[in-house]
Every structure is written in structure tokens, then in C-alpha cells.
Symmetry: C2
């Protein structure tokens, strides 16, 4: 993409009510646009990062037999009444409206109920199970206060997966495989070592649910980490009983700020009992399906990644999710030879399947470098009169600022092998 | 995908309020799930078709310099009040709700206003233009009556694009390029020869807007087609003046039922004037931006394609958008050699990058063929004891039922070259 064609520009100012670092940087770099508090549009560079995160999550969900679907924003009242979750006193984040054709309607803040209801069409016998389905859905939540930029929004993208099993053993085995898949996702996003499976309060059926909490200074949560065991405990379940259960001492725990990037929940048979989703076993006996739910906040993850991987100059993306893996910056000084060499490099990368953002704008070097630092693409190729005279480009790593001269013959190899 | 793992199953029955052919077939084949009237979830096979349609549309929008973004469902009242379109008397499809934090909020049924408003951040000088942005957005519309299955919904996916130009000449040139891009989309979807640029009523600025209408027996519209010129006229502008303008006679027109699959609209400078989106020319003089809007109903297209390409047995997808290009159907009759040969074919196709749906279920041949006809994948490879003894597979074309024997050595070539 030629930057001269990109409609977004970097900005010096942000909306004055925007206090969080993640939204400030993303707005200044032109990745997102603030529609209102907690509601953001995703512009070309931001959308590319979101899609890259989704691709990683999709691959790991497919790897544990997840089947992708997409449910609806509009929600039927009856479905939620059946499980007692239509009332605003029980669920305080509903957006509701009325249908012109008559009757109330809700907007999806979660999708366990409609997915469970739908599954009645496809699950009758134990032979139909196990099943696991997931979606990337825009959730709408009427939060009293939208905070932390894109980390807690009124409108946000969530990957939510639901598993259905015929017996407890298969159910728990799937739950464990999902835990592992989640850790793979966070490792691929570069936050594996800072993300902890965190014991949180369970429900009617289970003692604990499991959160995935990433250490993050500006996170809204506080967790108690045992680094040796690689686990953590949420404040709400920090009791002597829990510690005994987990075999850790209070002294071994370190309190840190964190952001919840994922949450998995074991419903046992309770949710299916409420919904009326039953399965027949080999003898024809009916019992409620064993269900689990598994969430990852996609746009929240984006916010956490910005909070963690940024400095005073701007953002720093890992190669796996960067909007583009390479940023070509030409410093022409009015010299047309530099323009044509930079054009040639852009075409060369394209021929080798390497997508680049190409800053071909007629701007001063200082401005171009500042914009490049703000946007945060991990590898920058600088072309100038000087690099041309030397027969190559200057490669600058965004993460540590280290620069290397790369001769023309090695450019493709260098770009292909580069990854942070 | 092994069909034994696919959670959806074909169904004999559909919800009793579902009278349209497209939704009936899509529900029976397990492509969609009806949440309520005009509101459908997309299941694995249906979602794959939707994504295939989006890919074609995306490629053609990128080819005319469209930049992909995603706006928000939640809409600020103030933005729509400014253009006089917040009132339910002016726009009768709003879903509205109230924010817990105070104030009314709308749900996006269109996005011209917020995109125009956002562009104020990025457009100041004529040098910033032209710009064209598009999104695939889930639109929410409070229709009094939801009809025609997924062809007119309360919740549906639309590709909407908006163009911004500094002067009329560039604006009209872009408008024309969009017309051509639209026809390319419809050609790639296999409905090019049945889709007509149709003159419809314009707005304050222009005499006509342009609809793209596809001949379709069950369509909601009626158009008057001049096949020779490849154009059509909407009922609302069928006047002598229009006919004179277009140089066609009333006698040359043929009345047909049709479905609107796209709509493009020339706003001139009016919309930007209402929004307050201005641009400075080379002399520093400010004037409103020239705007156009360009819509394609993605899920409606899916409905139209089912209406047009189906028979008594089920659906018939073109290769370009089929959920899978190949359907492997094994007729084992309990013979394990057939199972292992079918497994081998499935792996062979995968190795060559050909995705197949593989009916590996333990079902009767008749049931498998009926399901395969209903799902409508264009190319079916049947493996049985008979085909194994002959050293190949039977290739059956869904569109005309013609079957051919393909020897093992030619299978990849046959599958690669096959396209309808």
C-alpha cells in the first residue's frame, strides 16, 4: 500500500475525553476512529491488525475442531427469559428496543442461549457429539462507564466458542484442550510468558472458572501470580481454601495489575438443563448436554498489545500481527533516482509475496520517521541517496532501533527471515 | 471437511412461517438458521459462501482503490439530526435504545453520515482526494414486515462504499468506474447476463440513481428491460421523458420481476454540505466534497443466487462461491477398501490445495446423493466398489447431472480445471 493513497493520516491530537494510552496511540496513528465513548471504528491499518489476530485465533480454534459460524445481533426475548437472563436486574448491560411489528427485542451481549437453542436442531443422539462452534461476533453492551479505550467497550469484537459433549469425561477433555489452544494463541501474539491461567469464581456447577490474565500496568484487574507454577488467582477467590486446593502459599504470590484477555467457563449440565438441550445415550436415556464456553476479546487484545508493546514514540507490532510486515520509507531529497529505486523495491517485495506499506509521500525525513515510529511496523527499509550509493537499504528494527545495512542481493532473504 | 464432523445436518422440515424458496433450501441444507423473521444466523457451509461472495466483492472494490474499514453499529443521535435523518418520520427503520449513561442511541441501518463525519479528520485539502472507503457491515433495520427469506431482512450484511472527490469530473469518473466494477462482481457471480443497470429515481441533486437489478421470478421489484441496450428502467421513473432521455421506446421494453442486488447513488455536493465536510482547492477556497455511495447486499445476493440456481432437488452453486468446490461421496457398502480409497482421495485433494467436503458418513447411497444434491456443490466425486475396480472415480456435475468416469491419474487435473 502506498502511503500517499492511504486515506488516514497520523494526528497530533486525540479527542479530549480519550485518556487511555491504547486508544490515544491507535487514534493518532490512524488505526481507529472514536465514534463515542467505548465505540470505535476500525480504519485500514487497524482492521488489518484485527484480521491478523482473528486469523491466529481461527487457526487455533480450527485445530481443536471448532466450526465457525456467525449468530445474530438481534435477540429474541423468549430465549433469554427461559434462562432468567432477560431481566435488566439480572443482566445490566442489555440494549433493548421494540420491533415495529410488535414486541421487545434485545441486542446480543452474549450468545450462549441462542446457540444452545439452535443446537436443538442438530443434537439428538450422543452420536452427534462432541461439537464445538465459534464465532467472531460484535457484542453490544450497555456499560454505564466505557473505560480503558478499546479494552472495555460498548461495542467490541469477541471470539466466543461453545462446546457440547455427551458425557463428563469428553467434556472435561475438551475443556483442557481449549486451555492449551488459548495459551498457544497468546504465545503466538507474543504475550505467552506474561499471560496466566487465573482461577476465578465458578458458577452453580463448578468451583472455578478460568480467566487468562495478561500482566499489564494499566489493566483493570489485580491478580496474584505464582510464577513458578505459571498460575494465578483472582482477588475474588483468594482464600486459604483456594490456596490449599492449588497447593500454593500466600507468600509465593505476587500481586500484579492485569487485563483479562480470555475466559473459559465450565457449565456442566446446568446451562443445557435451563435451555432444554438434551441428548439420548446408547440406551435411549435422555440427559442434558455438557457445555462449556470459551471467550477471547479480540479488540481488547489489540488494546492490551498496544499497552504492552509501545514506547514514547509509538507502537511496536510483532511481525505476526503487524498491519504490514515491512515499512519502506524513501528519503528522496528531490532525487528521482531515489523515487524509482524505492518504487522498484516496493515491486520487488510484492513479487515475492511480501506486503509492504510504502511511504512514498513528499514529506521531510523527520516527519516520515516519526510517523513510521508511531505506526510501529517491525521492520523499516530506508532508501536514500546514501543507501543507493552503497547498493542497498538501511534496515531499522522498530523494537530496539538497531539499524543494519542490507545489500540489494540480500533484501528478500532479510525480509523473509525477519520476525519479532 | 469430513461430513461426519460437520455439526449441521440436512433437515426435512423448515419453520412453518418460512415460505420463501431461498430460506427453505438454505435451512434444509443447514446453511442458515432462522433466529426470527428476517434474522438469520450463518452456519459453517453458509458462512463459507458468504465469505466467498465477500472475497469477490472485496477484490473488485480494491481494484478501484477502495480501502476497507469497519464502522460501528452504535450510532450517535447528533450526527443524524444534523442531516435531518434521526426522526422516525423521515427514516422508518431505526432501531433505537437508550444509553445507561444517559441519552438516546441508534443502531446503524446505513453509514453515510458517520463516515462523512469521520472524514473531517482526514480531508482538508484537495490533495487528500480522491478517497474511496468501503465496509462489510451488518445493517439493522426495523422493517415492519420481513419478507422473501434472506432477501429482505431485519439484520443483513451489506457492502457499502463511499467516494469523496474534489471536483465533479473526478467524481463522475469514479462513479462510472464503480458501475463497471459492479458489473464485474455480478459477472463473476454468474448473474452478469441477467443483471441490468436500472434507472431509478435520484435525489435532490441528480435525476437518476442506478440500481443493479437481477431478473428473478420471486424478486420484489418489477423493471422494464431493454435487452439490446442492456439497460432497464424502474417503474417509478417510467415516463416518456425518461424514455426520451435514454433513447428507448416503450415498445422495446419487457416487464420482468427482479431483485435489487446493488444500488449506487450520486450525492453531488449535497450530502457533504449537510454534514459540513468541505475541502480547500489550490487557491484555498472551501467547497463541499463530491460524494457517492455504492451498496451491494451480500446476504441478499446469496438469496438471489439460491432463487436462480436451484431445482427441485436443491441448490446449484457456481465453483467461485460454492462452500467447497468438490464433494466426495463414498458408497462403501461396508467395504473397508472403499473407505480407505475415499480417505486417500480426500488427502490427495488436500495435498493439491483443493478443499473438499467429504461425505464419510455411514448412510445409505440414496440419502447421501439426496443430501449432496440439496447442498449443491458443483462437482461430485463418487467412490464405490465399482469405481475402485475400474481404477478411478465417477464425476457428477450438479448443474446438469452429467456423469463421467475419471481415471485416478486424471483426478487432480479434472478437479483443477472444473468450473461452472
Amino acid at each position: 500500500m502506498r502511503q500517499s493513497h492511504l486515506f488516514t493520516k497520523t494526528r497530533k491530537t486525540v479527542p479530549k475525553d480519550e485518556v487511555s494510552k491504547n486508544a490515544q496511540l491507535l487514534i493518532r496513528a490512524g488505526f481507529i476512529h472514536k465514534e463515542m465513548a467505548g465505540v470505535y471504528a476500525y480504519l485500514p491499518l487497524g482492521l488489518r491488525v484485527v484480521e491478523n489476530i482473528k486469523t491466529i485465533v481461527r487457526e487455533e480454534m480450527n485445530a481443536i475442531s471448532g466450526q465457525e459460524i456467525i449468530m445474530t445481533a438481534l435477540q429474541r426475548k423468549e430465549i433469554w427469559e427461559r434462562t432468567g437472563r432477560w431481566s435488566d436486574e439480572v443482566v445490566d448491560v442489555w440494549f433493548k428496543s421494540s420491533l415495529k411489528a410488535g414486541g421487545e427485542i434485545g441486542f446480543g451481549w452474549s450468545h450462549e442461549e441462542p446457540i444452545g437453542e439452535m443446537m436443538k436442531n442438530y443434537i439428538t443422539s450422543y452420536k452427534d457429539l462432541p461439537i464445538s462452534v465459534y464465532q467472531f461476533q460484535t457484542k453490544l453492551r450497555n456499560e454505564l462507564r466505557a473505560r480503558s479505550g478499546i479494552m472495555r467497550g460498548r461495542e467490541f469484537v469477541m471470539k466466543d466458542m461453545y462446546s457440547f459433549a455427551a458425557d463428563e469425561k469428553k467434556h472435561l477433555a475438551y475443556y483442557e484442550s481449549a486451555k492449551k489452544a488459548y495459551m498457544k494463541v497468546f504465545e503466538r501474539l507474543g504475550i505467552g510468558s506474561d499471560t496466566f491461567i487465573t482461577f476465578a469464581s465458578g458458577g452453580a456447577f463448578t468451583k472455578f472458572s478460568h480467566e487468562f490474565q495478561t500482566i499489564c500496568e494499566t489493566g483493570e484487574d489485580a491478580i496474584y501470580v505464582n510464577r513458578e507454577k505459571g498460575i494465578a488467582v483472582n482477588e475474588e477467590v483468594l482464600t486459604n481454601e483456594t490456596l490449599d486446593n492449588l497447593g500454593v502459599t500466600r507468600e509465593s504470590l505476587e500481586k500484579v495489575n492485569s487485563a483479562e484477555v480470555g475466559n473459559i467457563f465450565n457449565f456442566g449440565q446446568q446451562k443445557a438443563r435451563d435451555i432444554g438441550l438434551v441428548v439420548r445415550d446408547a440406551k435411549g436415556k435422555e440427559s442434558p448436554v455438557w457445555m462449556g464456553s470459551y471467550g477471547i476479546g479480540i479488540t481488547r487484545l489489540l488494546g492490551v498489545l498496544v499497552e504492552k508493546f509501545s514506547d514514547a514514540k509509538g507502537m511496536m507490532w510483532n511481525t505476526s500481527i503487524a498491519p504490514y510486515p515491512v515499512h519502506i520509507v524513501s528519503i528522496t531529497g528531490g532525487n528521482n533516482d531515489v523515487v524509482s529505486e524505492a518504487d522498484r523495491l516496493y515491486d520487488l517485495l510484492k513479487e515475492h509475496g511480501i506486503e509492504a506499506l510504502y511511504d512514498d509521500r513528499d514529506e521531510r525525513a523527520g516527519e516520515k520517521f516519526a510517523d513510521s515510529d508511531l505506526i510501529g511496523i517491525p521492520l523499516r527499509f530506508v532508501i536514500s541517496e546514501k543507501t543507493i550509493s552503497q547498493g542497498g537499504v538501511e534496515a531499522v528494527r522498530r523494537h530496539d532501533g538497531v539499524s543494519t545495512f542490507v545489500p540489494e542481493s540480500s533484501i528478500i532473504e532479510y525480509a523473509t527471515n525477519f520476525a519479532v
